[in-house]
C-alpha cells in the first residue's frame, strides 16, 4: 500500500514536471522574406526587401519621395541548433552594405513584426515589418439562439489586400436546420461584422499582424479539414453528443485566441486552462456557454484595442468580400 502510494506520488511529480515544461514554451518563427523598415531619423528610413532566393535590396526612403535603390546584397541566415543567430551580407557588384563588402549582424531579438540586430561598429538597429496588407480578427458569440440557451460562437479572420477583404470563419452558428459546427457562411458572419446588439451578444475586433493572421488561419483551415474528413477531435465524447460539438468549438476558440500570443504577449489573454485557480469561466459555466464568456472577457481585457464599428465599416467593405 505504502509502496503504491510512493510510486503514484513519483508518477505525479514526473507528470507535473513534464506538463510545466511544455506549458512554458513560447516560440516565434523567423521568416526574413518580405520588407523591413529601419528608421534612421524622423524623416529618413531604409527599406530592406528580402526575397526567397537569398537576395536583399536596400532602398532609401526620405519624406514623401519615392524610395530609391541604394544597394543589393546576398544574405544568409546563420542558425545554431535551429535558432537564428545572425545574418551575413555580401554586397554584389560595386555595392556596399552597411559601409563594407561583407557584414554579419547578430540577431538580438525578434518577434512577429520586428527584428532587433546588432551591427558591429554601428550599434543596435530595430527593423519593423512593412506590410501593405492589413489583418483583423473578429471573435463573435451570442446566447439564447439554441434550445439550451447557448448560441453562435465563432472566430473570423480577415485579410485586407488592396481594399478587398478575404474572410474565413469557423465555429458554431445557427444554420437553417439548427445548430451547426463548421465553416461559417458569409450571410451568417456578415451579421457579426458590426457592433454587438445587447448583452446577449459579444464581439471583439482586433487588428493583428500577418504572422498572427497566418497562425489563426492555419487553425481555422485545419478545423475545416477535420470537419470535412470526419476527424473532429471530440467525436462521441465521454458525456453526450451535444457536448462533443461544444467541446470541439471550445478547442477552436481557445486555439485561435492563444495563437495570437504564441510569439509574444500581444493581447491580454484570458487563461482558458480549466484550472480553478485561473479560469473562473470554465468553472462557472457549462461547455455550451464557455466561448461566449471567453470572448466577452477578451473584449473587456482588450477594450482599448477593440476597433469601433464605424472605423471597421470604413476599413472592411462587405460588398468587396473575396470568395475563396
Amino acid at each position: 500500500m505504502k509502496l503504491t502510494a510512493i510510486i503514484s506520488l513519483l508518477a505525479m511529480i514526473f507528470l507535473g514536471s513534464t506538463t510545466t515544461a511544455l506549458a512554458q514554451e513560447k516560440s516565434c518563427s523567423f521568416d526574413l522574406v518580405g520588407t523591413w523598415k529601419a528608421q534612421i531619423s524622423s524623416t529618413e528610413a531604409r527599406l530592406y526587401q528580402f526575397d526567397d532566393k537569398g537576395v536583399v535590396t536596400v532602398l532609401a526612403a526620405s519624406g514623401t519621395a519615392q524610395p530609391h535603390q541604394i544597394a543589393t546584397a546576398k544574405y544568409e541566415v546563420n542558425k545554431e541548433l535551429g535558432k537564428p543567430e545572425s545574418i551575413s551580407f555580401t554586397a554584389t557588384g560595386k555595392n556596399r552594405i552597411f559601409g563594407s563588402l561583407k557584414k554579419t549582424m547578430k540577431i538580438v531579438k525578434y518577434d512577429d513584426s520586428s527584428i532587433t540586430c546588432e551591427i558591429p561598429g554601428m550599434g543596435t538597429t530595430r527593423w519593423t515589418m512593412v506590410d501593405p496588407d492589413r489583418y483583423f480578427i473578429v471573435l463573435a458569440a451570442r446566447t439564447g439562439e439554441f434550445y439550451d440557451a447557448a448560441g453562435s460562437a465563432f472566430s473570423i479572420v480577415i485579410k485586407l489586400a488592396g481594399g478587398v477583404p478575404t474572410i474565413d470563419a469557423f465555429g458554431i452558428y445557427l444554420a437553417k436546420d439548427g445548430r451547426a459546427l463548421g465553416t461559417v457562411p458569409p450571410d451568417v458572419y456578415k451579421n457579426y461584422l458590426r457592433e454587438a446588439r445587447n448583452d446577449s451578444e459579444t464581439i471583439v475586433r482586433l487588428e493583428i499582424n500577418s504572422r498572427q493572421y497566418e497562425r489563426a488561419l492555419k487553425i481555422i483551415k485545419e478545423w475545416e479539414r477535420r470537419d470535412r474528413e470526419d476527424a473532429l477531435l471530440y467525436k462521441t465524447a465521454a458525456e453526450t453528443v451535444d457536448d462533443a460539438t461544444y467541446l470541439n468549438n471550445i478547442l477552436v476558440a481557445k486555439a485561435v485566441a492563444e495563437s495570437l500570443n504564441k510569439c509574444s504577449e500581444d493581447i491580454n489573454l484570458y487563461p482558458l486552462n480549466y484550472t480553478q485557480r485561473d479560469d473562473w469561466i470554465s468553472d462557472k459555466y457549462r461547455s455550451a456557454l464557455v466561448p461566449f464568456y471567453f470572448f466577452k472577457e477578451l473584449r473587456l481585457r482588450n477594450e482599448a484595442r477593440h476597433i469601433p464599428d464605424k472605423k471597421f465599416q470604413e476599413l472592411v467593405h462587405l460588398p468587396n468580400v473575396a470568395s475563396r
Binding site: 510510486i7 511544455l22 479539414r225 471530440y234 467525436k235 478547442l251 482558458l272 486552462n273 470554465s282
Partner: protein
C-alpha cells in the same frame, strides 16, 4: 507495398459493434522500422492492443512507462506479435522520425516482437490521441503530458475499451489487459478451470495448504 505482410493479420473476427476506422481512424503511420501502416486496418482490426503515448526526447514519465511495458512484454511473451500488440504512439511526431523512435527503442531494449513505436502526420496523431485518450475535459485533453501514464487497452474482437494506470502494480495491469481478452467458449473455460484446480491440488499436496500468492 503490401502493408499486411509487415504485421500479423488480425487473428480475431472484428466485433460487429466495433466502430472501426470511423472511430480509430485509418491514418497512415510509420513504425520504428519505417514501415507504413494504417492505424485501424493494420494495427487494430481483429487484434488486442495496449497503447501508450510517448516521445523520444521525454525524460519524465515515458522511460518509466517503457520499462513497465518491457516487464509486461516479458510476462505476455507467448502472445506478443500474435494476437496481442503494444503500440507506443509519439505525441511529438514533428520531432520523432522513425529513426529517432528506433534509437529510443534500442536504447531501452524495447525493440521487441509485437511492439511498434509509431509516428505520423501531427494532424492524424492528434486525432488518434483524442479518439483513444480523451477524458471529455479540455484542460486534461489539450495537455498531452497528462496521458503519458495511462495505457489504453482495446480489443477490436470484443469491442472492449479499457485503461490501466502505468504506475500501478504489474499484476493489476496484467489483469486489466486480460479483461480485454477474446471471449472464450465453455470448453475453453472448462480447460482453464481444470488447469487452475490441478495447480491448487499440486500446491496443497506440497505445502499442505494454499497460500495467497498461489492463487
Amino acid at each position: 507495398m503490401d502493408r499486411r505482410s509487415l504485421l500479423t493479420k488480425g487473428v480475431f473476427t472484428p466485433s460487429p459493434f466495433s466502430q472501426g476506422a470511423a472511430k480509430f481512424t485509418n491514418a497512415v503511420l510509420r513504425t520504428q522500422d519505417n514501415k507504413e501502416v494504417r492505424f485501424y486496418d493494420d494495427l487494430i482490426r481483429g487484434k488486442q492492443a495496449v497503447i501508450n503515448l510517448m516521445y523520444a526526447d521525454c525524460h519524465g514519465a515515458c522511460p518509466l512507462v517503457t520499462t513497465v511495458m518491457k516487464q509486461l512484454h516479458r510476462d505476455l511473451k507467448g502472445r506478443m506479435g500474435k494476437d496481442l500488440f503494444f503500440y507506443s504512439l509519439s505525441v511529438k511526431p514533428q520531432d520523432d522520425t522513425p529513426e529517432a523512435l528506433k534509437h529510443y527503442a534500442k536504447m531501452r531494449n524495447a525493440d521487441l516482437p509485437g511492439w511498434y513505436f509509431l509516428t505520423g502526420d501531427p494532424y492524424d496523431i492528434e486525432t488518434i490521441r483524442f479518439r483513444l485518450f480523451n477524458m471529455g475535459h479540455i484542460g486534461v485533453d489539450t495537455d498531452f503530458a497528462m496521458h503519458s501514464g495511462t495505457f489504453r487497452i482495446v480489443n477490436d474482437a470484443t469491442n472492449w475499451w479499457g485503461h490501466a494506470n502505468a504506475f500501478t502494480t504489474q499484476k493489476s495491469i496484467l489483469k486489466r489487459i486480460s479483461w480485454a481478452d477474446p471471449f472464450k467458449t465453455p470448453a475453453e473455460w472448462d480447460a482453464i478451470i481444470r488447469a487452475r484446480q490441478a495447480k491448487i491440488y499440486k500446491v496443497v499436496k506440497k505445502h499442505g495448504y494454499l497460500r495467497r500468492e498461489d492463487l
